[in-house]
Amino acid sequence: MATSQEILEALADYQGQCNENKRLRKMQRDWSKLIHFVAEDTGDTFTMNVVKGEIVSFEAGANGAPDIIVTATSESLCDMFWGDLNPSQKYLAGEIKVKATQEDVIRLDAITMIIWPDV
């Protein structure tokens, strides 16, 4: 189980990796979404705001009306933000649940593929 603080630290790293990756930013420049990440084991929710491919903010709590809801264990969320798991594989195994369009599911997975190509 990961604590809220650990998830926020992982999110901070994820934000840095995404925003500093020029290829990713260019690729996702037409993608603006409000995303809720729900840790099903702890009940914590985190909100991430992506504007034109840039993660402009993230915070604890369920804020705003989300375009995407990602639900997983707190460990899986941390692993995803650290690049330690393949989101698509976990999604297809039912370990990560995503309420979103298929295009958005692929966009989320594309982030991992660009930052961590070997995952």
């Binding site: 639900t71 999604y91 039912g94 370990e95 997975d109």
Partner: protein, 423 residues
């Protein structure tokens, strides 16, 4: 060749595909358990290069009605190569004339003239161009969740924003209405409406079958307002639904019909836009206004003739209906056994849509079915729907194999987390 060698060849092919064609496609297929390198193909089966055998229920969304590498079709192409090549598109040829004549014979009503193309999008592009050119009107009514291809005019008639938004602005004058809603069409019609384009049964949209009075009413509206009716039979045609063309279920004759996919028998790409003789008048002063270098190649036309002959000789329409009934019996049992997973079955012959209870189930079932030797992928426009479109030559035993794989997959999935409607 040893297993390790084949595994290495497969890994290299996937790596090359990823590098030189597209990494995200390989990644997505791999996650779904569908990182198959198509190798041997026969009947309803395809083998991965490592020897794993699958029943193909995806069939490129209905390309393989006569089965994969049907020997009769392969033989027709081999024989054709003794004499023919693609041909020169500006010249006349007997294979083109033969296939156009055959299409006039087998299509409903007074559909008579054909423009050939290579693929479905091109066929629908031609249909929309003809509609605008013939009527001298501009507006095209299409439906939500429709799929007509990824080319210019056809793309504008797709009922899914995700396919269109990156390429806007698209063609002007396209008006979208809900599928199956006659009142919506009535409201959308103006004095400038050239055509209504529909799939008789939506394929990518999720195997959506309209109310029984829908197509006849659309036909009447078209007649009353001098609007052309374009029916896209690209997925539904060539016996897929138990009739040679799905529109025959409702006795509706369009002004323009488009066909592709199975016309090529999975062997040679070809499509056709077939229209009523009066529409030919548009081409009298413009005989060279719509051309296709490879469309209606002589080789493709010979293959098309062989495909139609095979479908008729073996009564694949009747067989599709019988196998469809066998599927339905098994699927009804699954509906009863797994109500938390399976909400509805929509079916016409061997065009089958499984409506799952939520969007996460389609991709997960795809993976579980692949693990059990069945290729069945959720529809492009809606991942909560699995499309089953096996070759029409499928046997009762093969139907049972697919049903068993579905039952085992659902049993396994029902024991997993994340199946609630809100997940």
């Amino acid at each position: 060749m040893m297993g390790n060698d084949l595994a290495k060849i497969k890994a290299q092919a996937l790596s090359d595909f990823s590098k030189f064609i597209g990494p995200m496609k390989v990644r997505t297929m791999k996650a779904a358990g569908l990182d198959i390198i198509e190798h041997k193909r026969e009947g309803v089966n395809v083998w991965d290069i490592t020897g794993e055998k699958y029943i193909d229920c995806q069939t490129g969304s209905g390309i393989m009605n006569v089965g994969r590498r049907n020997p009769d079709i392969v033989e027709a192409l081999k024989k054709a190569l003794d004499t023919y090549d693609i041909g020169v598109f500006l010249l006349c040829s007997k294979p083109k004339a033969d296939l156009a004549k055959k299409l006039a014979e087998i299509t409903p009503g007074d559909l008579k003239c054909t423009i050939f193309g290579v693929g479905g999008g091109e066929a629908n592009d031609a249909a929309i161009k003809i509609a605008r050119g013939f009527t001298m009107k501009k507006e095209i009514i299409y439906t939500q969740r429709a799929y007509h291809g990824h080319t210019g005019f056809s793309l504008s008639a797709i009922g899914r924003d995700a396919y269109k938004e990156p390429f806007e602005p698209l063609m002007p004058g396209f008006i979208m209405v809900p599928f199956g809603d006659i009142e919506a069409i009535k409201k959308a019609i103006t004095a400038d409406t050239a055509a209504i384009i529909l799939e008789p049964i939506q394929g990518e949209g999720g195997i959506n079958i309209p109310p029984d009075d829908y197509l006849p009413q659309v036909r009447k509206l078209c007649d009353d307002h001098e609007i052309l009716l374009i029916l896209d039979e690209i997925q539904t045609g060539f016996a897929r639904t138990g009739k040679m063309f799905a529109s025959e279920h409702w006795g509706v004759v369009p002004d323009i019909m488009t066909v592709a996919k199975s016309l090529g028998g999975g062997i040679y790409p070809i499509s056709a836009t077939i229209f009523k003789e009066e529409i030919q008048d548009f081409f009298i002063p413009h005989p060279f206004i719509h051309l296709s270098t490879f469309g209606g190649s002589d080789l493709g036309c010979i293959v098309g003739m062989a495909v139609i002959d095979y479908i008729q000789k073996h009564d694949l329409a009747g067989h599709a209906e019988k196998m469809g009934i066998r599927f339905r019996t098994g699927l009804d049992a699954l509906l009863k056994d797994y109500p938390s997973l399976l909400l509805e079955v929509r079916q016409s012959g061997l065009m089958i849509g499984l409506q799952y209870t939520n969007e996460s189930i389609g991709p997960r079932m795809t993976k579980k079915l692949a693990e059990r030797g069945v290729i069945a992928i959720y529809t492009g426009n809606d991942p909560s729907i699995c499309r089953l479109m096996p070759p029409l030559v499928i046997t009762p035993e093969e139907v049972d194999f697919v049903l068993n794989a579905l039952a085992e997959s659902m049993k396994e999935l029902s024991g997993e987390a994340g199946l609630g409607k809100n997940d």
